[in-house]
């Protein structure tokens, strides 16, 4: 574990920012997400993550094995807001557009490396460790510095296991169907077809 790049660590993993080194580039090339819903995440990691990190559009975190430095997972966080109820109102005889908003942090990506799990089957389900020990503390820290009411995201895989996991294990919630459909129309990232808006208070 290279101490200078580490953001956080627990007993089994450590978490660092994405910095392009030869090893990191190789590890990213070797990263695998075998389920079909993860294809977009893999593509993002391999083609766009570093650009966003460098631009400051997102902070990309790599999670590594404490002992072997193998790449376990990655996740991406960025600030955002949920805006709704955009409407035209008259203020001082002038028509203006206003809207309600909630500030938040978007969990833009979270993916575990299937190759790592294949070599370390005891780590199956480790996404929960990463969420609890790394993602939530970052959100709590951000909340100490700027306004941040919720952690939110767009879960792909509406009919499968991933959404259930986010709702039942990660404690995210989803809106009622009518509200959800409206939010989806407005906020859904263009590449996230069939995704579901999920959120939780932080």
């Amino acid at each position: 574990m290279k101490k200078s790049s580490v953001v956080n660590h627990n007993e089994v993993f450590y978490c660092e920012h994405l910095v392009l080194t030869r090893k990191t580039m190789q590890d990213i090339d070797d990263f695998r997400v075998t389920n079909s819903e993860g294809k977009g995440l893999l593509e993002y990691l391999q083609n766009n993550a570093y650009h966003d990190e460098k631009l400051g559009a997102q902070r990309i975190y790599l999670v590594r094995d404490m002992i072997t430095d193998e790449l376990v997972a990655f996740f991406g966080l960025k600030t955002g807001m949920v805006s709704q109820n955009e409407r035209a109102v008259k203020i001082d005889n002038e028509e203006r557009i206003v809207f309600d908003m909630i500030s938040g942090i978007e969990l833009a990506e979270l993916a575990v490396n299937d190759i790592y799990i294949r070599h370390n089957p005891a780590s199956k389900g480790c996404g929960l460790i990463i969420f609890n020990d790394f993602i939530l503390p970052i959100c709590e820290q951000a909340k100490q510095l700027v306004g941040c009411e919720i952690l939110y995201g767009f879960s792909v895989d509406e009919k499968g296991k991933l959404l259930d996991r986010y709702l039942n294990e990660y404690n995210f919630a989803r809106l009622d169907p009518e509200s959800e459909a409206k939010v989806q129309d407005r906020l859904r990232p263009y590449f996230d077809k069939g995704c579901v808006f999920i959120y939780q208070k932080i």
Partner: protein
């Protein structure tokens, strides 16, 4: 969106994104939700880490 022509013949739109009541309901639903308890997740995570460490120890032996 509702469209119309203004006096100069340009197309203008009145943004009625989501009917007021529904828009407010969405914001309220999110804002009034409870912060989830972290206790159960913390216990699961600790158990998972113990399992991983035990597996690593077995591998070394």
């Amino acid at each position: 969106m509702i469209g119309g022509l203004d006096m100069a013949g340009r197309v203008t739109y009145t943004l009625t994104d989501i009917p007021g009541e529904l828009g407010t309901k969405i914001i309220d639903q999110i804002r009034e939700s409870d912060k989830p308890s972290r206790k159960e997740m913390e216990e699961k995570v600790q158990a998972m880490k113990r399992r991983i460490l035990a597996a690593e120890k077995r591998e070394k032996e």
